[in-house]
């Protein structure tokens, strides 16, 4: 879906700044949330696609506050609620000393059974392709700024489970991913320099059709 997270080409966020290297975590909250995330991922209580979908789905005002540990924490809360481990009200109760009871010991299944067969590759390196123009509902990995654009496949990246289906809990749909190169002028018009290029990883599902030369 065209959420606020789909940021390529969006105006109004101001100048970029840099920061010295050498600091992995800048605050205690950042370190804590990272630790939790790693632990929950390792235990199967969080999954990448569900987590991304949850963070992208935060209210826009929250997302653009860009407090990263807060956004990740709120995404994690949704992941745990989905699995019935920590549900709304539990943290308030725990802060009063009441431990929730009857919770799963291992992560319950959240994904629909079954996996689609690997989708055969319909394109190959050198093909000109057009990316689908229509907005996709739900979590997906198609940048808005490339919708409807025509580019050239420069590499095949093997089979990857379609994130849309994983995030929607519909099961695995392994399919080819391609690296596709676009001319910046095709995408942005005259303000882009001649010769500048863009490259993105495009799932086969996002490709509309091959384009004849």
């Amino acid at each position: 879906m065209s959420g606020i997270h789909n940021l390529g080409g969006v105006q109004g966020f101001g100048r970029v700044w840099t920061e010295p290297e050498g600091t992995a975590f800048h605050t205690d909250a950042e370190r804590r949330v990272f630790r939790l995330m790693m632990g929950l991922m390792a235990g199967g209580w969080c999954d990448t696609d569900g987590f991304r979908a949850a963070v992208e789905g935060l209210p826009v005002q929250t997302y653009v506050r860009e407090c990263f540990p807060m956004n990740y924490f709120l995404g994690m809360e949704q992941q745990l609620a989905e699995r019935g481990l920590i549900v709304p009200g539990d943290l308030e109760a725990w802060m009063q000393g009441v431990k929730p009871a009857g919770r799963p010991i291992v992560p319950p299944p959240i994904m629909a059974d079954g996996s689609g067969p690997p989708e055969p590759a319909r394109f190959r390196v050198g093909d000109r392709i057009q990316v689908g123009a229509i907005d996709r509902q739900g979590h997906n990995r198609l940048p808005n700024y490339l919708r409807g654009q025509t580019g050239t496949i420069t590499a095949e990246r093997g089979l990857v489970d379609l994130p849309d289906a994983l995030a929607a809990r519909q099961g695995r749909r392994p399919q080819p991913v391609y690296t596709v190169e676009f001319l910046a002028r095709d995408v942005w018009g005259d303000h882009a320099a001649i010769g500048d290029r863009l490259s993105a990883e495009i799932f086969q599902d996002y490709i509309e059709a091959a384009v004849a030369e």
Partner: protein
């Protein structure tokens, strides 16, 4: 723009983007203690993971890879062809899982990496991403106005150098192999590594010039 630049609310950028409101801080701590109490997470294991990301991976690993590639053409060829096996021999944490691709800067093409959809980054060779890499300011304009973004990092490229921006939208993670600065023929591999900045491996910077 330096990192101590005031944000809209009188905070530095780093503080602003990494300090949750107090009620969220409390909830984070409560979740942590509850998950430990429930036996869902193991604090000792998590300390090990944090230590790994604080001490064992980071941009100095990437800098060593780049310096080796500058010093050893055979290594560079292997690195560009198969980063995983090339890095495996360097005595640092290896590349596993994500598909890592090295992209070489040349006099005619300057490369930059971004993740416009979230914050995908080559953790395994550069460590955790800097805050600005995750910011809307960078993610929105790196693809549409890369030359303006580079100027904000203090980099101005000649107009004949084309820019190629790599948006990490699936499982491939890109790292830039910057061009070796002139006048470095006499430097050791360790001295070369000191010239390789994190930003030069993201493509928002160039390597440092050698001290005269």
């Amino acid at each position: 723009m330096s990192d101590d630049h005031d944000h809209d609310h009188g905070h530095s950028h780093t503080e602003w983007h990494t300090t949750p409101p107090p009620e969220i801080e409390l909830r984070i701590k409560a979740m942590e203690s509850l998950l430990v109490e429930m036996g869902v997470i193991d604090p000792a294991m998590l300390d090990g993971i944090v230590d790994f990301y604080e001490r064992q991976v980071g941009p100095r690993n990437g800098a060593r890879i780049v310096a080796r590639a500058w010093a050893d053409p055979a290594f560079k060829a292997r690195l560009l062809a198969d980063p995983k096996s090339a890095v495996a021999g360097l005595g640092m944490p290896g590349i596993s899982g994500d598909h890592v691709v090295m992209v070489e800067n040349t006099p005619s093409v300057h490369n930059m990496i971004v993740c416009t959809l979230c914050s995908c980054y080559p953790w395994q060779t550069l460590g955790l991403p800097p805050i600005w890499f995750k910011s809307a300011a960078y993610r929105s304009r790196a693809v549409s106005h890369p030359r303006d973004v580079l100027k904000e990092f203090g980099v101005e490229l000649p107009p004949e150098t084309a820019i190629k921006v790599w948006d990490s939208t699936a499982d491939t993670r890109y790292m830039i192999l910057p061009a070796r600065p002139a006048g470095t023929g006499h430097l050791s591999e360790n001295e070369l590594a000191d010239l390789v900045t994190r930003d030069s491996m993201i493509g928002t910077g160039l390597p440092l010039e050698p001290k005269p």
